[in-house]
């Protein structure tokens, strides 16, 4: 497949996903409501717990929760929806590889999920009157861009699990809260046991949160450069893993059949 074909298929999949989601009231509701609630809770815990200096950290953490949630739910639900709608078989039968199609859709989700961060900042400012000064705006923008890439690639890997297993929808629920905690989105990583750290460091949300928080001026002991490098490394790792997973999955689903079942 040539590059032009790949880019057009990516764009087509991106557009289909964006159009379908933009007209889905449940998705829109989740995208807006959850970040507001998480900001009210997370920031409230720190402010009423006597640590208002952690307000910005909590706002960014709540935003990352929104980003993670939207990626997890929507990357999973892409495949579930395709399966339920009977379109998954047609995607497998198309000349474009499933990997490219799901990458386009995952990118669309990741971009939409960045709205969560804007919503948490707005909620923090309006409700708690938090001064939300970003110390290093360019570094923050860079962190946002790398977060977008990493979450897209992670969405690709998560999506592959949903192609294989009909019951993978339950995985979204199971993975939800553990990842919040493991990635330090609600409480700093330093309060977690040391033996859990390797798991934390293998997750993109951990480094995304660190990069965003450090460039905003909180988490003074974190390194922006290290966070950037980790996000790039994890993005590459997720992409390579996703690439091989899809090559394997396309063979498996043709062997097994049952793509029309849900």
């Amino acid at each position: 497949m040539n590059l032009n074909h790949t880019l057009r298929a990516l764009w087509g999949s991106f557009r289909e996903q964006a159009t379908s989601r933009a007209t889905d009231n449940f998705f829109i509701g989740t995208l807006f409501i959850q970040p507001v609630l998480m900001t009210l809770l997370s920031v409230g815990i720190y402010i009423y717990g006597g640590r208002p200096d952690f307000g910005l950290y909590a706002v960014i953490g709540a935003g990352m929760i929104g980003i993670w949630n939207n990626n997890l739910w929507t990357s999973g639900s892409i495949v579930q929806d395709e399966r339920r709608g009977g379109t998954l078989e047609l995607l497998v039968a198309a000349p474009t590889s499933l990997e490219v199609i799901l990458l386009g859709k995952s990118l669309s989700n990741a971009i939409a999920s960045l709205l969560a961060l804007a919503i948490t900042f707005a909620t923090g400012t309006i409700v708690y009157r938090l001064p939300l000064d970003i110390e290093n705006p360019w570094a923050f923008l860079g962190a946002l861009l790398l977060t977008l890439v990493a979450m897209t690639m992670l969405g690709l890997v998560i999506g592959s699990l949903f192609v294989l297993a009909r019951a993978a929808g339950n995985l979204s629920t199971v993975l939800n809260y553990p990842i919040f905690i493991l990635s330090g989105l609600t409480f700093p990583l330093t309060i977690l046991p040391i033996w859990l750290r390797p798991l934390s460091f293998s997750l993109a949300p951990t480094w995304a949160n660190m990069a965003l928080a450090r460039s905003a001026g909180v988490l003074a002991d974190a390194s922006i450069a290290l966070s950037y490098l980790a996000l790039i490394g994890l993005s590459v790792a997720y992409f390579v893993l996703g690439h091989y997973l899809y090559r394997w999955i396309e063979r498996i689903v043709r062997q097994r059949g049952g793509l029309e079942q849900w």
């Binding site: 057009r8 764009w11 159009t19 379109t87 078989e89 000349p95 059949g257």
Partner: protein, 326 residues
């Protein structure tokens, strides 16, 4: 030139039964399937529910792998050369699934044009043409969720044609449609065939296959029983006549007696509301109506029709009346 060839094609599905003591069970969906379809031919695959029609269509359209044998479409091996074959074929499944309900008809075609690598300029020309062909031009901007079942099916066909395929697979394209919508779909299929496309059509509607197809393969329990023209298949029952007796309350012993009648070649019983329709195939059946009614042991006869055999009667003779209940 040959468009489709299958050689000893087989497909076995693994399934499991039980919860605690799970047992693996094999279900043979296709066995030793062999046939050829010529380019430009409208080829029908006829069979009862569960005969293996969809499995065969999925294998030929590269969605599913066979577990034995080989299949080639346009000279490409469906197992190893799927990527090269896919741009040159189209697939349409019957029913309401298989569409993005939140997209408009036009956006659906645009999306699949991207997935099938149709150049933008070609897509800009082809999409309005396809919408015109399937009669959806005036509804192209509406979301699919608002379409009727017939409109969705016509959109399916337009989607299947987005890459101008050389071979089009149509799996039960009129299933669940009302007679007018089904006739419209058949009109489209006929038009496509007259343009020279190779069409592989599966259906369990006999009149549809009879009306449209150049040749037919009859599939039952995963096996191809015969491949021939509809008229040649009908000749299998040319020596027979068919009597349709609509009765109320015919009991099993009476039906057994009827089935055992020396002249009866086949008896099929269909339910029609509260009545039963007995379809009896027999040589000179018209002259035997009195005898048949006598065997019904007092069941109330509502109507009797005598007619010449159709493709459906030939099909019943091939697969046996029991297969029709599947």
């Amino acid at each position: 030139m040959t468009a489709i060839t299958t050689t000893a094609l087989g497909r076995v599905f693994d399934t499991r039964t039980g919860v605690v003591r799970r047992k693996k069970k094999e279900i043979v969906a296709l066995r030793e399937v062999e046939f050829q379809v010529e380019q430009g031919e409208l080829f029908g695959l006829l069979g009862p529910n569960g005969a293996g029609k969809t499995t065969l269509t999925k294998i030929l359209s590269t969605i599913l792998l066979p577990t034995s044998g080989r299949a080639h479409v346009l000279g490409f091996d469906v197992i190893d050369e799927a990527r090269r074959l896919r741009p040159r074929i189209g697939i349409v499944f019957g029913g309401e699934r298989g569409l993005y309900w939140r997209l408009s008809g036009r956006d659906t075609l645009l999306y699949f044009a991207d997935l099938y690598h149709v150049p933008p300029k070609v897509a800009a020309r082809r999409i309005p043409e396809l919408l015109e062909l399937v009669g959806l031009s005036d509804r192209e901007e509406e979301r699919v969720e608002g379409y009727s079942r017939g409109m969705k099916q016509r959109l399916h066909i337009a989607r299947g044609l987005i890459n101008d395929p050389e071979v089009l697979f149509l799996d039960e394209p009129t299933i669940g449609l009302d007679p007018v919508a089904a006739r419209e779909v058949r009109r489209i299929i006929r038009d496509l065939s007259s343009e020279g496309k190779t069409i592989f059509l599966t259906s369990h509607y006999m009149y549809e296959i009879d009306e449209l197809c150049d040749r037919v393969a009859v599939l039952n329990r995963g096996e191809v029983l015969t491949v021939d023209t509809p008229s040649a298949l009908k000749r299998l029952v040319a020596d027979l006549e068919v009597v349709e007796i609509e009765v109320l309350g015919a009991r099993q012993p009476a039906l057994d007696s009827l089935r055992a009648h020396e002249k009866v070649a086949a008896l099929r019983v269909e339910a029609r509301e509260q009545a039963q329709v007995l379809l009896i195939q027999a040589p000179g059946a018209a002259g035997l109506v009195g005898e048949f009614i006598g065997l019904l042991d007092g069941a109330q006869v509502r109507s009797v029709i005598t007619r010449q055999p159709t493709l459906e009667d030939a099909y019943v003779r091939l697969v046996g009346p029991e297969a029709m209940k599947a």
